[in-house]
Amino acid sequence: MDALTLLPRIFDGVTGLALLLLAFWALASPRLFTGIVMFVAFGLMMSIAWVRLDAPDIALAEVAIGAGLTGALLLAALARLSAAQPAQESTSQSVKRKQTLRLFRWVPALLLAMVAAGLAYAVQSLPPDSPGLSADVAANIARSGVSNPVTAVLLNFRGYDTLLEILVLLLALISVWTLGGLSSRRTVSAGPVLDVLTRVLTPVLLLLSAYLLWAGARSPGGAFQAAAVLAAAGVLLLLAGWRPHPRLTGLPLRLVLVAGPVLFLAFSLTTIATGRNLMEYPPPQAGVLIFFLEAAATLSIGVTLVALFLAERPPDKEGQ
């Protein structure tokens, strides 16, 4: 076997092993903080795995969400957790019980080893070559309005997936608000360096978000990646101490949140009313329609993610 076929295999092997080890330490390290650090590193390693699997679209999404959002979400939650719950001693009774429980850990371990063996056998017995739906996508890509097959699937062939996903995000935010949200925390003042960093990075991030949205039609990118970068800009602003003006968190915020879903729903209803299938684009206008729907989806998803990070419930009416 020559070096040019062997080397990628070694690379894949190292990546796979690193994934398993990082996941193990994320779940097994004694400190929560170490676990979170390992989980963030795990996400970064996942993006290398996506690259090796010829999935740059997924790599972009993983990087944008893993580097920008997940770490910030988990660390902010950990901070609130330590503020709410000072370190507590375990009672001797619970320690004893823990020890008994630890003795019986081999039961789930054994069961899961069997599950793993079964799943591994199932994966191994799948045929090595299976084009799946790629031939169908390739046959219809010219009518979809975009040339990036992943964007074509997300926005055209299976546009209802994206519609439902936006609704799921909105549902998550509504659930957070229904729980009463979290009380706002004292803001640590940003200091001059972070202040300048935020001022420089935020416009660049907005530009990058717009670029990914625009590039998604023909190369990796698209609404989700753009939205994740947009959300990262918002998270950075929140971390630097910026808060939206109260006048913006009432009706304007809610209008932005529902802009994407409403536009998608309106479009779906229009396609049905004009005798087409659900979300079947008229081929000549497909490219333009997809772009506008994606732009609205980007804005709504991005703002929803920022609101999920903030997790504060805005007042129902001004002055209340």
């Binding site: 200091g191 360096v193 972070l194 300048v196 960093l197 420089v200 990075l201 660049v204």
Partner: protein, 99 residues
């Protein structure tokens, strides 16, 4: 091997050496400030050499521009983060290593 390929290879190897040195420093240095110092070497110089080497390889001005943009962004973010961590550690009274 053409001269430009040779130059690219040398630059890339220097870059990788800086990454290696940064990792050794991260493992071996005694406190958070010195480790930060080692880390910023791989950030700035290591990535800088790797990017210069790749720029020599690429043969397209568009790619060179993008690579330089990436380097500038990493520099700005890395320097700011290094300052934030060092400043935070100093304000929390993390003691410095003395011989």
């Amino acid at each position: 091997m053409t001269p430009s390929e040779f130059v690219a290879a040398v630059l890339l190897i220097i870059g990788a050496a800086f990454f290696l040195a940064g990792t050794v420093g991260l493992v071996r240095f005694p406190d958070v400030y010195t480790r930060l110092h080692a880390l910023t070497k791989s950030d700035n110089v290591g990535l800088g050499f790797v990017i210069t080497g790749l720029a020599v390889q690429s043969g397209s001005w568009f790619v060179v521009g993008k690579l330089l943009l990436i380097w500038v962004l990493v520099l700005a973010a890395g320097a700011s983060v290094a300052h934030l961590i060092a400043d935070g550690a100093a304000r929390r009274g993390v003691s410095m290593w003395t011989r």
